[in-house]
């Protein structure tokens, strides 16, 4: 992958994580994934259940070893490191966990929880360390007086802030955010999202933001990776990927996300993907998405040959043989209530290769 600009902070090269499940069968949670994380960006990682995004997050945070491949962090291959060597580098990449109730040790005070990373690296001593902990609490919007309290005394949102404070303690360069708000109430989610954004700009952090909520990922990320069944199917700028997806799965995902606008919801067609995600133990041959894909030619190239993840347009990668047939998003959702009553397109996609108006043959129509 050629790339202009500075060296990426993290380079993931052909990483796989396989779990042996029974004799002869392996669960390929992550299968041959390659991408870069650029310094200072927020890279969103999105996908549905079983796609491997959480596993990928844990691989990058080195919480579980890779089965094959390399993860190069700031020039150092993490997969080669063991024990103390690896631990020494951990200060540069941290993680925020999904479950605010399980990610804090119930037996430790808030102060101890946040101080643990500092203690591990011998940062600060006595009073100085206390001060740092209090500072961190303030930074995440909590009162410094909370140091002597226990996690069970706090709400979900507050606990998540504690987890964020812990992740910030070592001044890491990269933070892997694994579904940081999905376990929180809706009204609290935006507090935490705004906090994460503010912190990123304030401390010049890099985020790998993992979530299943596409609207959220679009809001917070600069670039987005879409995963399906252990593989990356599309990589693009946030804006690009939502206006002009180049993979049918991405297109279907976008179409399925409900929007809080009753007029729009009634007008748009839900592209109903048939069936559900197959088991990652025996993925379909060729392109993994082909059995559910409205554009697939099967039997044909789609069932025989796995499409490689390649740059189709500048900065936009997709793994699809028919990437140029994917209809655009925007107001020109061409299937609103069937072709006859399609509302006029308000935004015209720039790319001349886009189909306007008629959906491609075989694209699922609403109603049945």
């Amino acid at each position: 992958m050629t790339e202009p600009g500075p060296e990426p902070l993290v380079r993931v090269e052909n990483v796989s994580k396989h779990f042996p499940v029974r004799l002869g069968a392996t669960l390929k949670a992550v299968d041959g994934v390659s991408f870069d994380i650029r310094s200072g960006e927020c890279l969103g990682l999105v996908g549905e259940s079983g796609c491997g995004k959480s596993t990928l997050g844990r691989l990058i945070a080195q919480l579980t070893p890779v089965t094959s491949g390399r993860i190069v962090f700031d020039g150092t291959d993490l997969t080669r490191l063991r024990g103390r060597q690896l631990r020494r580098l951990r200060r540069h990449f941290q993680m925020i966990f999904q479950d605010p109730f399980a990610s804090l040790d119930p037996r430790m005070t808030v102060g101890d929880i946040i101080a643990e990373p500092l203690a591990n690296f011998g940062l600060g001593r006595g009073r100085e360390r206390e001060r740092r902990v209090q500072e961190l609490l303030e930074v995440v919007g909590l009162s410094p007086s909370f140091v002597s309290r226990y996690p069970h005394e706090f709400s979900g949102g507050q606990r998540q802030r504690i987890g964020i404070a812990r992740a910030l303690a070592l001044h890491p360069r990269l933070i892997v955010c694994d579904e940081p708000v999905s376990a929180l109430d809706v009204s609290i989610q935006s507090q935490i999202i705004n906090l994460l954004e503010d912190l990123r700009h304030r401390f010049r952090l890099t985020y790998l933001f993992i979530a299943h909520d596409l609207a959220l990922v679009r809001h917070i990320s600069d670039r987005v990776l879409v995963m399906y069944l252990g593989k990356i199917v599309e990589v693009a700028d946030s804006r690009q990927i939502y206006d002009l997806p180049r993979h049918p799965y991405t297109r279907a995902l976008l179409s399925a996300v409900p929007i809080p606008d009753p007029h729009r919801e009634r007008r748009r067609s839900l592209i109903e993907l048939q069936g559900e995600v197959p088991s990652p133990i025996s993925p379909p041959p060729g392109c993994r998405f082909h059995p559910r894909c409205p554009l697939a030619e099967a039997p044909g190239v789609c069932s025989r040959q796995e499409p490689p993840l390649e740059e189709k347009e500048p900065g936009h990668l997709a793994a699809c043989h028919f990437w140029d047939r994917v209809p655009a998003m925007g107001a020109a959702e061409p299937m609103a209530d069937g072709p006859a009553s399609a509302p006029p397109a308000e935004e015209v996609p720039q790319n001349p290769r886009t189909l306007l108006g008629d959906p491609p043959p075989g694209w699922p129509m609403p109603g049945r």
């Binding site: 631990r87 020494r88 966990f97 303690a169 705004n194 503010d198």
Partner: protein, 300 residues
Amino acid sequence: MGTQPVAVTSLLAEPMVRRRAGLWTDAWRRLRRNRLALAAAAYLLALVGVAVLAAFWTPYSTTHQGVVLPYQGPTAAHPLGGDALGRDVLSRLMGGAQISLLVGVGTQVVVLVLGVPLGLLAGYFRGWLDAALSLVINIFYGVPDLLVALILIVLLGHSGLGQIIFAIAVTRWMDMARLVRGQAMSLREREFVEAARCCGSGTFKILSRHLLPNALGPIIVQATLGIPQAILFEAFLSFLGLGVQPPTPSWGSMAADGVQAIRISPHIVLAPTIALSVTLMAFNFVGDGLRDALDPRQRR
């Protein structure tokens, strides 16, 4: 992106911290409602008091013979009468309490020292360490307790309390190790352990600061319930003449001595037997009470 810099510090005013009881407070509250456990605990406290007292003073000597008429029944001066050799039963009972408690608690201390670290290591690391430990545990389970204890006592020379404690502990450590192993295995999967690894904590820190404190509840319950088992075992050994040697009083040996005279002077065998039974029951009630109080399912 970003228009208004909505001050992050505006959130500093988070005033609301829900005050909910933690594990211990919650448990204590539940325990307080358990009348039986409380009564049993009171009894045990009194027993400890008696045992401590016996170290300094008993109504009569625990070993001198002839302080009372042999086989004499309970009287005002000797509330529990005299045994076959004319020793005051009450005084010997008090002395026996010392032995029972020392053995009971002492064995559990050894069990904890042996079982907890092994269990933690096996449960956290799995792999060959776990396989090896499981093998050893199963071997120990395979050999009958009495045999092991006998062999050890003979080998070590059965004179001291220490030897007895060790011998009993050797037959009982496996339960604790298995319990701790199970706890470690489930705790290592928890997110806060992952978080600890993520922020650079080493194995020792994880085991001591994260796993052990979170496994403390079941460990305490197990240790508490192990005490009566040990006491009973000691009594049994003493009954067979293999425990503490005469003239040191042990409830077991007292019972053994009294069995022959059960028709003429039942008090000789009844006193230590009842004391033993009540003590065992008390420990079991307290242990059960602790287990119920600490049950995570009951916690919100």
